[in-house]
């Protein structure tokens, strides 16, 4: 590469610039650390979690009262389906385990017509 006649000057200027090693003043350091403190993300400490009792923490863990009401509704619906399954569910179970098996918790025949039972 052809040398530029002004390269000596440039090289001197570059060397001079590289020699610049400014020491950060106390004021600048203080400003930078103040920024760091202001921006630093918060930390979850053991103290903040232990201030609440077991039930509030459990409640928090599952998502609060709205989640509890949802859980309650789902539980009631599950029990209801267990006791009185809709016909579509009955059809489905029949197709899986056969029509011969019939389980009824509240059999009218059993409760109202004892004569229908075989003797002995």
């Amino acid at each position: 590469m052809m040398m530029n006649p002004h390269d000596d000057m440039l090289d001197d200027l570059f060397a001079m610039a590289r020699g610049e090693k400014p020491v950060p003043g106390d004021d600048l350091v203080a400003r930078v650390l103040a920024d760091a403190d202001a921006i630093q993300p918060g930390v979850v400490t053991a103290a903040t979690t232990s201030q609440k009792g077991l039930w509030p923490r459990l409640l928090e863990a599952v998502g609060g009262w709205p989640a509890i009401s949802g859980l309650a509704a789902a539980t009631v619906a599950g029990i209801w389906v267990g006791i009185a399954p809709p016909s579509s569910v009955e059809d489905m179970t029949a197709s899986w385990i056969g029509d011969e098996v019939h389980v009824s918790l509240f059999s009218a025949d059993l409760m109202l017509d004892e004569g229908a039972l075989p003797d002995g």
Partner: protein, 197 residues
């Protein structure tokens, strides 16, 4: 700060950044002690003025604090990232300076004793170099400053600027040539004789 008593002594910058993001205030102080001098030096060399360089250094550190929670481990070194940030912040300032004068040129000291005169000449040369960098296309200014003011290797610059080594070579060569042309007119003014090299 006594490094020998420091529990973080020897920990990589990245680990300190994670510690800072997790709420460790001591990590911030150590990172500042490690990184701020380098950042301030880079900004001072590019901008030629202490006041502007301090603003850039503070801004760069602010960006570091902000990115700490999202820092992606292993993707880049903290120093590489900072070189890039400071470089970009400085070229932003140089762009605004075009056509005007840098802050330190405004005041004209009256003291002409030899040592003060020498300091003034050094200051004038640094300011002139910075003003000449401002005249270059930004990528050339960044490549030239990282190569010749920071003394980094071409592969390091390629990583910082996210370009190929060949592109770095091209940018630094063209940038240095352009810089020499710009500075040629100020040779006598800056105390360099006119004899060819």
């Amino acid at each position: 700060m006594n490094a020998s008593l420091d529990p973080f002594a020897g920990a990589p910058d990245e680990a300190l950044l994670v510690a800072y993001a997790n709420g460790d205030g001591h990590a911030a102080r150590l990172l500042t002690a490690r990184l701020l001098p380098r950042i301030l030096a880079q900004a001072t060399r590019m901008l030629g003025t202490r006041t502007e360089a301090e603003d850039v250094a503070q801004d760069a550190m602010m960006r570091l604090w902000k990115i700490a929670p999202d820092w992606r481990s292993g993707e880049a070194q903290v120093t590489t990232w900072l070189y890039r940030v400071v470089s970009n912040l400085c070229t932003d300032r140089l762009r605004k300076r075009r056509g005007g004068v840098s802050l330190d040129q405004v005041a004209e000291p009256l003291d002409t004793t030899p040592s003060v005169a020498a300091q003034m000449q050094t200051k004038a040369r640094m300011t002139a170099l910075s003003d000449a960098l401002a005249e270059l296309p930004e990528r050339q200014a960044q490549a030239v400053s990282l190569r010749h003011l920071e003394g980094l290797s071409n592969p390091e610059i390629a990583q910082i600027m996210d370009i190929s080594v060949r592109s770095v070579e091209s940018l630094t060569a063209r940038g240095k040539r352009a810089l020499a042309d710009i500075m040629a007119g100020r040779k006598a003014e800056l105390g360099y004789d006119d004899e060819p090299a």
